[in-house]
């Protein structure tokens, strides 16, 4: 029973083209470990260096967004030095293209802000994204941001098809935000 159950669980992830999937608390240590796994698995598949660099970059920005902005966070120690942030991370491959999916809870207020930013980013071509990124690099950071806008721009610059995103309403205060990037 147990074997059947867990084998079916694994098969379901494989059916969804996952090379690996993680759900639970994410930390900076885990980002480093998973980032290394991304590089190793792409290397095993003899992926071109240019693609590896793009996938790795998207992966780091996506996972750091989960760590920084997940609506479900716990601080590990006092003083606040390490945080654990709940989310979902998937690295996958379909039709020879890699994808990175991240999902985490956000407040509805944050969801509105994210929608606005993602809609504006979706309307930009490569050159517009590059210019906007340069402008954002020069600006003083938004006090509530730890770099999210520029992180989303970095992701948008590396994808090979438009970013897919969705917001699932969890309750009256929170939504589940999902971002899928094909590289």
């Amino acid at each position: 029973m147990l074997g059947e159950d867990i084998y079916a669980f694994r098969s379901e992830l494989q059916k969804r083209d996952a090379l690996f999937a993680y759900t639970g608390f994410v930390s900076e240590d885990l980002l480093y470990a998973l980032g290394t796994a991304v590089k190793q698995q792409l290397e095993l598949k003899k992926t071109e260096g240019k693609v590896v660099r793009r996938v790795f970059s998207v992966f780091v920005e996506q996972v750091q967004n989960v760590i920084r902005y997940s609506g479900e966070q716990e601080w590990l120690t006092e003083p606040k030095t390490a945080r654990l942030s709940a989310g979902v991370i998937v690295l996958g491959q379909d039709d020879n293209r890699f994808f990175v999916i991240c999902g985490n809870a956000v407040t509805n207020e944050e969801a509105d802000g994210l929608k606005t930013r993602l809609e504006s980013i979706s309307g930009m071509d490569g050159e517009a994204l590059r210019k906007h990124y340069r402008t954002k690099l020069r600006e003083d950071p938004d006090p509530h941001s730890e770099g999210a806008t520029i992180g989303l721009l970095e992701i948008a610059r590396r994808v090979t098809q438009p970013l897919e995103y969705d917001f699932l309403e969890l309750d009256e205060n929170r939504s589940f935000f999902v971002l899928k990037a094909y590289i």
Partner: protein, 132 residues
């Protein structure tokens, strides 16, 4: 007063940082996606600022050799470059060398983007097979 030299060892997620006030040489080498980019780069920028404040017109050479940096690090690098450009505008001779793996088109493009911000400092793009 001679400013203090700075040396920070490389880690898998943060670059080696060397500032030698005697030779007027600053170098950043490696990968950069630290947990908190402002916490990592803040003290480095302060150190460079105090070096610049205590040496009025000594030439400065900066060697950047990055394999990878994330967007938060890019922001910190931009802050460093803005400080250097202001100093060059004030009359100091500043040279920035941007070394990158010739196969790394992203690093070349970032170098080109940073290059546009320099009017007074000299900025050189240097493809280098040693960076990898």
């Amino acid at each position: 007063m001679t400013p203090n030299p700075l040396y920070i060892d490389e880690t898998p997620r943060s670059p080696r940082v060397e500032l030698d006030p005697d030779t007027g040489h600053l170098a950043l080498t490696g990968e950069s996606y630290p947990e908190d980019a402002s916490a990592f780069y803040g003290p480095i920028l302060q150190n460079v600022a105090s070096y610049l404040a205590t040496t009025i017109d000594a030439p400065l050479t900066v060697d950047m050799r990055f394999i990878y940096f994330n967007s938060s690090s890019a922001k910190a690098i931009m802050n460093l470059f803005q400080m250097l450009e202001e100093n060059a505008e004030g009359g100091r001779s500043v040279t920035v060398n941007w070394f990158y793996d010739p196969d790394d088109d992203l690093m070349a493009e970032m170098g080109e983007d940073f290059a546009e911000d320099f009017r007074h400092a000299s900025f050189y793009l240097k493809p280098d097979t040693e960076v990898a």
